[in-house]
């Protein structure tokens, strides 16, 4: 209990009013168990799909992934029990740690599929860019909760959070991992937007974008332009960069309305489908369960996203609102990039389908994020302190 007792500096006490001293039991009661059930349902779909990717066996994918999920579940509920003030205090150190890991991966990362994405910490492969997303959400939510809506009108106040966003984006781009960089950028943008960035600021920011894109394209090398062409027309290079996209579309499309049946997906089972257990797990599902199965999975994802957003709206404090929204947007962007990728709508970009794809880093960071979301929900009735939303409140 003592660990859960409201704590934190004077500063954080001012940002959030005293949190209710719930008992552990009442906190557990306040957890959104329906949401947890949804998460378990999606993870169950993932388990079944990973069994298929393993040729009908829990080895080598489904079993380890189930263990990770179990661990993630505990992590989520535990984090969900934490008071918001503690999360706010942890935000900056977490953010710094995530930056450090990103730098470390560039320095001594393991090359995986042409990009440096992994580092090994204590014998465990971790993907710092996954961690960076959640850390950024926490950091920005904390930062914006210090700036009241009224003060958001001052563009100077946006400089620091902008730098906070661009630092991990730049580091991830260098790996290079375009997909994750876009997601991190998207999380930042969504939080700026939700925190109350003025419309004129948004318009002003967006104005030079087309011109910048044009200049950037003019400065591309021929081979880079060729790569863009391949992305747009994968059939022009069927065995090279376009191979994954084509094979994924073939596997998806051949599923039809009802699919080929569990374990009957020829393209996945015969390995025509690349990375069927990680990035292309949705293709395996849609090949074997058809359009119906694909839509059910997408429906589950949408429920989780909208549920998270609804929880954000429900929160009575600015920090919790922003935290929940950031996590939901993160989850949404994950799904968006992955699904667009496997359907051939955007270039392949090393982004897994959260909770479903095989992979520890993604699973654990997603569950950590849901822990933040849950914490925001458990503490949904805590009100913002005067410094948070009060334009005149002084800062230390």
């Amino acid at each position: 209990m003592s660990a859960l007792r409201p704590s934190g500096s004077r500063f954080h006490r001012r940002l959030l009013r005293e949190e209710p001293g719930f008992s552990l039991a009442s906190r557990l009661w306040r957890v959104n168990w329906l949401y947890v059930l949804l998460i378990c349902a999606l993870a169950g779909v993932g388990y079944v799909a990973l069994c298929s990717a393993g040729g009908g066996s829990a080895r080598p994918y489904a079993g380890p992934q189930a263990m990770r999920f179990g661990f993630g579940l505990i992590l989520m509920v535990t984090v969900g029990m934490l008071p918001l003030r503690l999360l706010m205090r942890l935000a900056f150190p977490t953010y710094l740690a995530s930056l450090g890991l990103l730098v470390a991966v560039l320095r001594m990362g393991h090359v995986g599929k042409g990009a440096e994405r992994w580092i090994i910490v204590g014998g465990v492969q971790i993907q710092p860019s996954e961690f960076a997303k959640v850390a950024l959400v926490l950091m920005l939510a904390t930062w914006f909760s210090r700036i009241s809506y009224a003060r958001m009108g001052n563009p100077l106040r946006l400089i620091i959070p902008a730098v906070m966003t661009l630092l991990p984006v730049g580091l991830v781009l260098k790996e290079p991992n375009l997909g994750t960089a876009v997601i991190i950028g998207g999380i930042g943008a969504a939080l700026f937007f939700a925190a109350g960035m003025r419309l004129w600021q948004i318009v002003l920011l967006c104005l030079p974008v087309p011109a910048l894109l044009k200049i950037a394209y003019a400065h591309l090398h021929d081979y880079q332009r060729a790569r863009i062409t391949t992305f747009l027309h994968p059939e022009s290079d069927p065995l090279g960069a376009g191979y994954n996209i084509i094979q994924s579309k073939i596997a998806l499309g051949s599923g039809g309305m009802w699919g080929k049946g569990y374990l009957q997906g020829t393209q996945g089972q015969l390995n025509f489908l690349p990375e069927k257990q990680t990035d292309f797990i949705f293709t395996t599902i849609a090949e074997e369960w058809g359009f119906v199965g694909g839509i059910v999975v997408m429906g589950l994802l949408l429920l989780l996203i909208l549920g998270g957003m609804a929880m954000a709206i429900r929160s009575r404090n600015r920090f919790g609102r922003l935290l929940a929204l950031g996590i939901s947007v993160n989850f949404f962007l994950y799904c968006l990039v992955n699904l667009s990728m496997v359907m051939g709508a955007i270039p392949v970009g090393g982004v897994p389908l959260p909770l479903v794809s095989y992979g520890g880093s993604s699973m654990l960071t997603v569950m950590l994020g849901f822990g933040f979301l849950m914490s925001s929900w458990v503490n949904r009735d805590v009100r913002s302190g005067e410094s948070a939303d009060n334009g005149e409140a002084s800062e230390p």
């Binding site: 809506y149 015969l270 849609a286």
Partner: protein
């Protein structure tokens, strides 16, 4: 600024009124404004998220439902691999069932790269047991680069028992090396039938582009002879096997198998025994002989010497061997029987006689006086007999082979009639035999000469009358022509007697139409040819058959390849036998037997053999004797309904 937030928490926390309360209301207002903006914007984001996922759902619908069938097809193409099965090539056998071309199992050593950890090391150890040539090594390296690791690479073929035993003994040191059986084409008769049967060689890229079947390993294409002309029949139709493969092409299961049609077995009219006998008679000289069944045009023997070893082509001909063949003046690679053209010389005279009789320009009884020469248009043309033959009619003209008689006949009837009749008799025209690279030869006409911008002289007709000048025919044409004279039917020469045991219609004599020429004319010419061999003072007494009761009719020919100058002729010392080999006249002889019931026609051409009567006639007699004696039963049996009947 102090704030007693402790008292205000929870959902329904109480509120202070008063001084502080007023301020709190303002705080609350601001907070609510921020929260309102947040809520609106969050709802906006939710709408956007729902819409985006909706669009993706729409995209999924497009992929799976709208273009589902298209992708299902692509998926099947990914998954199912169709492979062709090579059909065994059909055998070629002679009329009695003796194999002339067949398939022999060929033991080869293969290496499965995925089963050995050290590919170069294994190859080296293999080479220590069974030597590998340099071209083997380059081929192995090339195949290794282009093939997947589970596709075996051929190390060596044509392994002997000895080599196989050594490989098996060393098997533990050779992981991934397996012994496998393939087939190669063999020609048991070797050079004897090489010109007729031909040979096979691996297909080139153009062939492969035409037919996918040819791309299969081990497929061969006929490159010469029957192997080439009957290639489609011999090759058969490919079978196919449908297999389920994974993304790297490894076969997982066989789904469907359609067996192909093996190549047809082709029975040739050839008699390998007779062929060998003819070859033995000819020996080493550059010559060609054709033995034909004159009733239906079946070729029983067709020898062209020297020959070559056809099996060399399957494994690749060495450069030295090739140069030796192409530089040999006796042209071993050319089938002289169909592609060698020679002036027919006096063997042409029966055709000229037929032209005259057919057109009723002369009668067999008409006589011309031979003084040893004739003057036409200011030029003098000599008879081979310096002092002439005196008064000569058709019978004597043929019997003595009197040149002046045929000069006179040719002068009277003209070249066009000679050419027309010659073509009808099968001379100077392309014959429809199942061999590639046949030549048509030539019966010259004024029109042909004009086409080449030359004027036709009267003298050209005169020399053509004795088969000299521009006249060129092949030995096969001579045999065909002899058969047509002997039977009066327009028989066509052919080699294919049966396909898969079923006789071709050509083997029936009634298949061939009767020639539109007077029977009297045939009789007169046959009698003349009989006299050549059998009467006193005929030109070919040496051609009399040693078989009692069977007589042969024939005609000699000695064809000059160089004009004999007047000075040389008048010096009286002219002897063609002293000329260098390539300037000596060709020796020719045509004949058919038995005279009263013609069965065989034989033509013989000895390149630069000097004199037909002296050299070609005895050879032809010997060949005819062989043909008649070899299998007496063969003579009595008319061409029957099956191959076995012919025995």
């Amino acid at each position: 600024m102090k704030f007693s937030g402790r008292k205000i928490f929870g959902r329904s926390g109480g509120r202070h009124r008063g001084r502080q309360g007023k301020r709190q209301n303002r705080d609350q207002e601001l907070r609510d404004r921020g929260r309102g903006v947040f809520t609106r914007r969050a709802l906006l984001l939710m709408a956007a998220q729902t819409a985006t996922l909706g669009l993706l759902g729409r995209k999924l619908y497009d992929l799976q439902i709208t273009s589902g069938e298209h992708f299902a097809k692509l998926a099947t193409r990914n998954q199912i691999s169709k492979r062709l099965l090579a059909p065994p090539r059909g055998r070629i056998i002679d009329r009695f069932g003796k194999a002339l071309a067949s398939n022999q199992t060929n033991w080869r050593a293969l290496l499965l790269p995925e089963e050995t950890t050290d590919v170069p090391g294994t190859i080296e150890r293999f080479a220590a047991i069974v030597p590998l040539e340099d071209h083997d090594r380059t081929r192995i390296a090339r195949e290794m680069r282009h093939q997947r690791k589970f596709v075996p690479v051929m190390l060596r073929e044509f392994l002997s028992w000895n080599e196989m035993a050594r490989i098996e003994l060393n098997a533990p040191g050779l992981p991934g090396v397996l012994i496998d059986v393939g087939t190669t084409r063999t020609y048991p008769e070797g050079p004897l039938t090489a010109h007729i049967v031909g040979y096979v060689a691996p297909p080139n890229e153009q062939d492969v582009a035409r037919s996918a079947l040819l791309a299969l390993p081990g497929m061969r294409m006929g490159r010469s002879g029957i192997e080439q002309s009957q290639d489609d029949l011999l090759r058969g139709e490919a079978g196919a096997v449908e297999m389920e493969v994974n993304s790297v092409g490894r076969v997982l299961a066989e789904l469907d198998r359609v067996d192909g049609t093996p190549g047809r077995e082709i029975t040739l009219s050839l008699d390998a025994g007779l062929q060998q006998a003819v070859q033995n008679r000819i020996g080493d000289t550059a010559a060609s002989a054709v033995v034909m069944d004159c009733r239906n045009g079946e070729v029983l023997a067709m020898v062209s010497t020297p020959s070559f070893d056809p099996s060399l082509f399957d494994s690749g001909v060495s450069k030295a061997q090739w140069i030796a063949w192409t530089n040999d003046e006796r042209t071993p690679l050319i089938n002289k029987a169909v592609a060698g053209v020679y002036p027919p010389g006096s063997t042409f005279k029966p055709a000229v006689a037929m032209a005259a009789l057919q057109n009723k320009m002369i009668s067999p009884a008409d006589c011309f006086v031979c003084r040893g020469y004739i003057d036409v248009g200011g030029a003098r043309f000599h008879c081979w007999a310096r002092h002439g033959h005196g008064s000569v009619n058709l019978h004597l003209g043929l019997k003595y082979s009197c040149d002046v008689y045929f000069y006179e006949v040719a002068r009277r009837i003209g070249m066009d009639r000679i050419a027309a009749t010659s073509h009808e008799l099968g001379l100077g025209t392309k014959l429809d035999i199942e061999l590639p690279h046949t030549r048509a030869g030539l019966i010259p006409t004024p029109e042909w000469r004009q086409k080449h911008n030359h004027h036709w002289n009267g003298g050209d007709t005169i020399v053509s009358g004795i088969g000299q000048g521009f006249v060129q025919v092949t030995p096969l044409q001579l045999a065909t022509y002899t058969s047509r004279i002997a039977t009066g039917r327009a028989i066509g020469p052919h080699l294919v007697r049966a396909i898969n045991g079923k006789l071709t219609p050509e083997s029936d004599p009634e298949h061939w139409p009767v020639l539109d020429m007077p029977e009297q004319a045939f009789k007169a010419i046959r009698e003349g040819m009989f006299a050549v061999v059998n009467e006193a003072h005929g030109t070919a007494p040496k051609a009399r058959l040693p078989i009692p009761g069977i007589e042969m009719a024939g005609k000699t020919g000695s064809a000059q390849v160089r004009r004999v100058s007047r000075a040389l002729r008048e010096s009286g010392h002219f002897n063609s036998a002293r000329l260098p080999w390539e300037y000596r006249p060709h020796a020719l002889f045509i004949c058919f037997a038995p005279y009263d019931a013609p069965r065989y026609a034989v033509s013989v051409v000895i390149e630069h053999g000097n004199a037909g009567a002296e050299f070609a006639a005895p050879l032809a007699r010997n060949i005819m004797t062989d043909a008649l004696l070899r299998d007496p039963a063969n003579r009595r049996t008319p061409p029957g309904q099956t191959v076995a009947d012919a025995l």
